[in-house]
Symmetry: D2
Subunit: 410 residues, 4 copies
């Protein structure tokens, strides 16, 4: 057993079996992928990586599993708990350079630059992850975890692909990939710790003790409803103020364009075999910035040269911009990223099948039916425009569009 000191959870206990996975280079590589890409341009010490986040998710998934199994009167299978922890550990194993910004770069390459790259949105890191689990880590997993569960690789990949076969996988899925889960719990607590903001905090000690699994659904005892509200509000605030901060967005957008130029020049390529994943880390991108437009390097590394039109594009303006999107894309492509338009959107909470349920001891109810606050949450949607001094003319054009649409009201 090994103890790792963690600012969020105190000590994280690592079993010898789990340590076998963690020590593998394909897991260690996560140290070199920043959790929140360019957010450090606004919150300077958000330099933390997917590595510690993954350890944190493993820890919380294990805690959640313990409490939920006990609260639900399920058989106390240590094996199942281990499998859920392991799945938590590996849920982000497929991320590459700059995490979600890489996924955004693929989208951009496709939609704006017309490059024929395989693009699957936020599923990209999931697909990469299942590839790595099946082709690289599978043998260690089989060796170490078969005693806990038959075909552990299948268990993990089923859960990551959100195709659970049985109630164990369903439980794992509901604890790791849900509106209130171990993944989000860890990143809210962790990202707010590194940003130094209080938005992201909520009472995790209470939350984990009030989880229950009923009729194949994860529910929370009604006594803890306020924590679920806090949780979803925390997430909303983190999106509004940190993840979707317009300056963060600008630098992530520049980074995406820089990666497109690298792809076009064959400086980087998409991963096709395992060892590519050991290479495609943040460092790889930084160290190749010399080979693309110098405006990109100066901006990405030293926060130089790009200006932002100081107005968040929302509401009616956003509708207007959507109408002229083709033109915008054309301008972006034309200016080769010296002019940028970047959209953000996230849904704080949506009542889908895998939604959050509330259990009052008798009935299981949907969260929105018990919480007016949650009902008041709506999609976060905005956009931002930025440009290098070389692209002032095109920026001026959009500045005018904004001035006009602002008069239309919110």
């Amino acid at each position: 057993m090994k103890l790792i000191r963690d600012p969020i959870h105190g000590y994280i206990e690592i079993s010898d079996k789990m340590n076998k996975i963690i020590s593998d280079p394909y897991f260690q590589r996560l140290r070199y992928i920043k959790q929140t890409a360019m957010a450090y341009m606004v919150y300077p010490s958000m330099l933390h990586s997917r590595f510690e986040h993954s350890l944190g998710v493993m820890h919380l998934a294990r805690e959640f599993a313990r409490y939920v199994i006990s609260n639900s009167g399920l058989k106390d299978e240590e094996g199942l708990i281990q499998m859920i922890a392991l799945t938590g550990l590996l849920h982000d194993i497929g991320h590459v350079a700059f995490s979600h910004t890489f996924e955004n770069f693929l989208l951009l390459a496709n939609q704006v630059y017309g490059l024929k790259v395989k693009e699957e949105g936020k599923k990209t890191h999931v697909n990469y992850g299942t590839y790595l689990i099946e082709n690289v880590l599978g043998s260690i997993i089989d060796k170490e975890f078969t005693e806990f569960y038959p075909d552990p690789v299948k268990f993990i990949t089923d859960v990551l692909k959100e195709s659970p076969r049985n109630y164990e996988e369903k439980l794992a899925l509901s604890l790791i990939s849900n509106y209130v889960d171990a993944d989000r719990s860890d990143y809210l607590l962790r990202d707010s710790y590194y940003a130094g903001v209080s938005y992201g905090r909520f009472d995790i000690e209470r939350l984990k003790r009030f989880l229950v699994f009923i009729d194949g659904k994860l529910a929370i005892y009604s006594k803890a409803t306020p924590i679920v509200e806090q949780f979803l509000l925390s997430r909303m605030y983190m999106f509004e103020n940190v993840y979707f901060h317009s300056v963060t967005g600008v630098y992530n957008a520049i980074l995406s364009h820089a990666m497109v130029e690298m792809l076009e020049k064959n400086i980087i390529s998409l991963p096709t075999e395992p060892k590519d994943f050991l290479q495609l880390l943040d460092i790889e991108i930084y160290s190749n910035l010399d080979k693309v437009k110098e405006e990109f390097k100066n901006a990405i590394m030293f926060r130089q040269g790009y200006k932002r039109i100081k107005y968040d594009i929302t509401g009616k303006c956003l509708v207007k911009f959507n109408e002229i999107k083709d033109e915008i894309y054309e301008d972006m492509k034309e200016s080769q990223g010296l002019f940028l338009y970047h959209e953000f959107n996230d849904v704080p909470y949506e009542e889908k099948e895998e939604a959050v349920y509330i259990f009052d001891g008798e009935r299981v109810e949907k969260l929105t039916s018990v919480s007016p606050i949650i009902r008041s949450l709506s999609e976060i949607k905005k956009a931002v425009i930025a440009y290098s001094s070389k692209a002032e003319r095109v920026a001026e054009k959009y500045e005018n569009v904004i001035q006009e649409c602002k008069t239309l009201g919110p």
Copy 2:
């Protein structure tokens, strides 16, 4: 005025003049130099950089200056406060890749590998810093700060070189580079925050209110003596458990050897002109690891392959190892860093001229004369040995030396 959110100090206020310096690429580059080099191998989220530390030192230096000026009945010169803050901001501007590990690499290149590189120990980053201030940042500094103080560049470099000309510079020096100062206060609080340990905390709110400048010396009111003790103990614990953690030491040593190989192969070179400082960042080293021994890359990036002889070499053993140092150095050179010996040492507190004084309202006394705890502190000195699997034979030899010297007692 700009506000930067900081996990340690809440909000850091940045004046427009100060922001001119901070926005310069030569300051922004500090974002890419990890504060604590390879400590992240043990404390995964110690990925924070010299950038936020420098902001923190500026903030604390300003706070310290305000209180000390008020407590000492000095004339309340906003200009002096600004100069002290600016000096705090720039105290680490000369650091390059991996901070102090770079200085260790120069030592190693010299002493073990016999390379003729200019080596000035911990003064290296000070010299680089004064070079950058005089040759790059000087013009902005002159433009923005001359209204506060005549020849501001001279003020800063005098202080950094520890050659104060007058009482203002002496005050600045005593607040920025001392046993209890803004620099150490920030790094203890900050490094312990990212490590997630409680060692490094002390009551900064109280400390800053009890500073006084008497007869050209920085003193602390005797009511706050316990905080000074806590401060020095905090520092000692951070050295013992974090900075001098033997695993951290091993990876820093490997990194030093890797940099020597890069130097020998002309992959990197020492900075000779300003723009070199924009290049010589952590990224530069990581991205060149492909060109040196693969044992180095595997170790430095993925924590693979090196073993540590699990015994901290101290006391009589350390004496023994010092006697055979030439032989050890020879073996290191021979094995090209596949066998490593790394020494740590630091003095928690030494009663020198710039020592910490205690003021009881009547007399100024030396800290050791009032605190038995401080008198009990002694030099921290230990060493560690590690080796790659290819260097097992030489490791075995030293394993025997240890077995033998261990019998000699502590």
Copy 3:
């Protein structure tokens, strides 16, 4: 100048003039009035007093005043800042034994037991306070603060009575008694600290920096809107989970009935002259519990003997109970408090004149017009029933009412 260590605000600085007020027995007496009455039956260490809360409000009122004056371009009058701080210090000076529970006891004596006591709801402590300020503390206040402001006593009492004469008093009122103010800021942070819950926290460091006074209204810069939301949500959660916890409510209700019995038996009486305020503290009530029904003492001191009908009466049930209120009151009186019915209600936010405004740099807008979350907040209203074992029969009757109304839906 004196420093008082405070867990919430670090150090609270006390000027010599302010210390004159604080040292007076009529201020010191606040040490013996618990801030949250019987909440310690649920959160054991909520034993903190109005004394430290009052210091905290003074501190925050001063901080708020400094920032708001600077942000609003008002003349930097240290005198006004001092007056606002002093008003904050004294805002709760009129509280007597068990704070608001005393006000509830007066209501109960009047409405249920038909005693002819002067009853002014939550204004009681305000009236007592202005009485003490005018008749006891006035002379010190005049002596110490007239140099800051003409007729300082009038300033304070105008503000506490919510009848501001001029913009200075209006500013003071808006900072001390408002939906987002120094009073609520302190009690949310403080009460949650002692309860050990995270509900009550919000980013006070950011909030205070974004206050502005425009057109005689307190507004918050729109960048800080999320904090205002957090603030109001914090308050709502604190009400739901702490202040209106049904067990807390039960014990506060028992205490009110016990005080009615004391009043009927002339063991206590309402304060009529200054020195009565030195006597009418929590201790006075506790030490007279021997003279009333032993069920009261056993319950109030040792948590013995009362049972709660484990159902929070809300919605349709609450309507039902309101219809039969006369009967309930009769049963309470009849059983002499061995059967209890206790109502709670609070409005998290209401758009009245003294509401919270948001300033986007151009326009001042109402909070509800910019925040759907705030619009979703509604009145908190519930009731709880409890009874001693001697009053089981009457309890049974209401148990049946509940069973019936529960079937009506929420």
Copy 4:
């Protein structure tokens, strides 16, 4: 199972059996005994009680027991863990009004006022405690805990009286009453939380994981030696700055003299039968202050009228004062407590049988042999003088003694 929210430990889990004890009036009474007596005169919110401390000790004793049993390879007996937790819960059950100040009052009554009261120093609350356990709580304990352990009452009283019969009781003793134990761990963390100081914090999460029981001794793995140092230093700082703060000392001394007067006037008496313990709470003393000298009431309740000679009597002065102690005692008695002399002393660490051991994996060593810092700790010993304005003449006399002895050096 019940959860109690606690600011120090998060949630404290209470089993149904344990809840039977906690719900008893003889346990609930601890709510009305302040943990740190008059410390609230300096740290206003130190109003917390023995009740929550006792819950905290139960919690930590249980945690310590779990880890130590697992680390030491002892049989995992849930029964033993429960017994250790229960003993922790009851370790302070014998405290009466104002905790240790009551013990000090007995000493004063005896030594200075010549009253014949049974006086057993700090053993008083232990003796009272075993009395209550044997005569009141015994029957519930027997009923609920006999299934865990034969004769549970004997187990608890053996441990509290420090006369362990077997290894189980020895283990309990070493975890509950030792230099590093659950009792001290809780009070350091708790008292510093309410004081708002950072002195008392140490890494409890790490400490509890590194306990081991070897050869009938509690030891700590050498990796955690720094925490033991921090722990003992924390305790030293809390004594110097909080418990032995000279103002706190003055008010505790006044309180002791007031209680002597109450005893002499038969207003209070020592407890002789169980129900006396339900009465002898802080409230009892406060509510009888009207019947003793008004100087006492004014001081104790409202911080009025006593002056302190602003010099801590230590070193050579303390020796001098010890020489004239009879005269001082006479003056105290003569002035009936209007003149006071109060001594403080505590030993941070002493190497006795029940000392703290360090285990390096091979040998068990004494703490002082491995830690120079601990060797540097010495007894804390000082005294303070205070007087009411009515006793100025006698105060003057001792003022002169101090002036004289101060010239002798420290």
